[in-house]
């Protein structure tokens, strides 16, 4: 079976404070349909750069991306805008990721309107269904996004991504800023959506406990390179790289008893 996305030899350097930084160094991986691949690493390891390169928010210096059978990096202008809806992104801070002037309705209807995914008469119905998919009541539709809570906002961001009918959603630290109890709910919701809509996730996170809960495979990044890639269970149970070992050791764990 061909993978949904195939990334080969991606590289990106930029200058910062007069120093040349290799943000991405020969990065290659594939991601299948209905699969979740986690990208973990400390800050500055390049995982955010990678997610922004794949979603084409930034340009790369070299490498190839094949997405849904197409040369993703060759797409331009109107054609890129048309195909972009298949690859969506949910950001870390839901307050930052939605226009502060938007209402819940306008945020979710944007993709439907732009890509003509439903006739105007059905918009409210579509938005209401999407809100239902992310377990929000439809009367929230007419509220401004700054009036609702952080957890509700992240669900709205998810509904906006789902409105595009995507095949891949890049989750850029999408649950890191949420309170613990909300985080757990949103993860369950994302797993459920994956099963029902056949979605693939690229899940960027620095929290291995969350990664273990929802990712099939995990790639560990360090200084712009993928230093380890394998099934999540294997990476956590038998880490090979020093970075993976350090990340696992650093996860805070519940101490149930001081003297076991």
């Amino acid at each position: 079976m061909t993978p949904l996305i195939k990334v080969r030899n991606l590289s990106k350097r930029y200058r910062s404070h007069g120093r040349e930084v290799q943000a991405l160094d020969d990065v290659s991986f594939t991601l299948g349909e209905r699969e979740t691949l986690a990208l973990v690493g400390p800050s500055g390891s390049g995982k955010s750069t990678l997610s922004r390169a794949i979603t084409r928010l930034i340009t790369v210096d070299g490498g190839e991306i094949c997405f849904a059978g197409e040369d993703w990096l060759a797409l331009k202008g109107a054609e890129l805008r048309r195909k972009r809806r298949y690859m969506q992104m949910v950001f870390q801070d839901p307050l930052e990721a939605l226009n502060p002037r938007a209402t819940v309705f306008s945020a979710i209807v944007d993709p439907i309107r732009i890509h003509g995914l439903a006739p105007r008469a059905r918009w409210r119905q579509e938005v209401s269904q999407l809100l239902d998919r992310v377990q929000l009541p439809s009367h929230l539709m007419d509220r401004a996004v700054h009036e609702i809570s952080g957890g509700q906002r992240q669900r709205v961001a998810l509904a906006r991504a789902l409105a595009c009918k995507p095949r891949l959603i890049v989750l850029d630290e999408a649950v890191s800023a949420l309170d613990v109890s909300l985080r757990s709910h949103i993860i369950d919701l994302m797993i459920e959506l994956q099963r029902e809509e056949g979605l693939s996730y690229l899940f960027v996170s620095h929290d291995l406990a969350v990664v273990k809960a929802m990712a099939h495979r995990t790639a560990v990044m360090e200084a712009g390179r993928i230093v380890e890639l394998g099934p999540t269970q294997d990476v956590i149970d038998r880490p090979q790289s020093n970075m993976a070992k350090a990340l696992i050791a650093a996860v805070p764990r519940l101490i149930r008893s001081r003297n076991p």
Binding site: R52, T55, L57, L80, R81, R82, K83, R84, R85, M87, Q88, M89, F91, D93, L95, E96, A97, L98, N99, P100, R101, D110, P111, I114, H115, H146, A157, R160, C164
Partner: protein, 276 residues
């Protein structure tokens, strides 16, 4: 309307609002309060204020009613001030948004034009512009706007530059929104509030510039303005100082009122940001 409540909570803003509301209603009601041409001769010349009940603020040296002039002058001052600020903010935010959004060569070119305008003092620019063309209300408005649009342009550009990097703009790109729609729907409305807060200062400046132009005889000669009234009074400054002082006080009230109103506006907008 929590934004209005925030405005109402700032005492400067409320005082400014009351002053401006008074001025605006006086200006709007001028034809009703003092029908006829305020420039016509209405009584004996140089009646001092508070002596003749039919001319509460007295008459000037041609016997024109000072109060009628003041009330009609409010129209000219407010129209010129507000219109000039509108034109300046409009040009400024379009140029600034374009520069900030396009970046690169377009940004460089536009900002050098802004520099060029900013180097010349606004008043001199207006003076030169009016003296070349015939002084009329639209020309005066344009002349004043010409010296005032650079502030909004710089501010709008700076705002756009920071908003361009925000996640919600990235999110708009990712759902496939057209760049023009991103500029107009996502960026511009969020870049505008600080520019609007600046506009109060521009109105105050424009009112003063207009008065100065009229004082120098470069205003529209067919309408009465506070500047021209001060200029008229200059000839009899020793014997009848009130002819210059009264329109001068009106000018001060307008500028202070506008400024305070602007403070209230800023408080309202910044508190909103704190809130979210």
């Amino acid at each position: 309307m929590s934004a209005l409540r925030r405005f109402a909570r700032s005492p400067e803003g409320v005082v400014g609002f009351v002053i401006l509301l008074t001025l605006a209603s006086v200006a709007l009601l001028a034809p009703v309060l003092f029908p006829g041409d305020p420039l016509r001769i209405a009584g004996a010349p140089l009646i001092p204020p508070f002596t003749d009940p039919s001319f509460p603020l007295g008459t000037d040296r041609l016997g024109r009613d000072v109060l009628a002039g003041l009330v009609h002058g409010a129209r000219a001052s407010l129209i010129v001030g507000i219109a000039a600020a509108l034109v300046a903010v409009l040009i400024g935010s379009i140029v600034g948004t374009l520069a900030g959004f396009a970046g690169g060569l377009i940004d460089e070119a536009l900002m050098r034009v802004v520099d060029a305008f900013q180097i010349v003092p606004g008043f001199l620019l207006a003076l030169a512009f009016v003296s070349v063309l015939q002084p009329s209300l639209p020309i005066v408005i344009l002349a004043i706007a010409l010296g005032a649009w650079t502030g909004p342009a710089r501010l709008a550009r700076a705002e756009v530059l920071s908003i361009r990097e925000r996640d919600y703009v990235a999110s708009a790109r990712i759902i496939g929104m057209h760049p023009l729609e991103i500029a107009l729907r996502e960026v511009l409305p969020n870049a505008l509030p600080p520019v609007l807060a600046l506009s109060a200062v521009i109105v105050a400046g424009a009112v003063l510039t207009e008065a100065a132009l009229s004082f120098l005889g470069l205003g529209d000669p067919n309408i009465v303005t506070w500047g021209s009234m001060i200029a008229e009074g200059r000839a009899v400054l020793r014997s009848a100082p009130y002819l210059s002082i009264i329109p001068g006080l009106a000018l001060v009230a307008t500028v202070v009122g506008t400024y305070l109103f602007g403070e209230g506006l800023t408080a309202m907008l910044s508190r909103r940001e704190q809130h979210s």
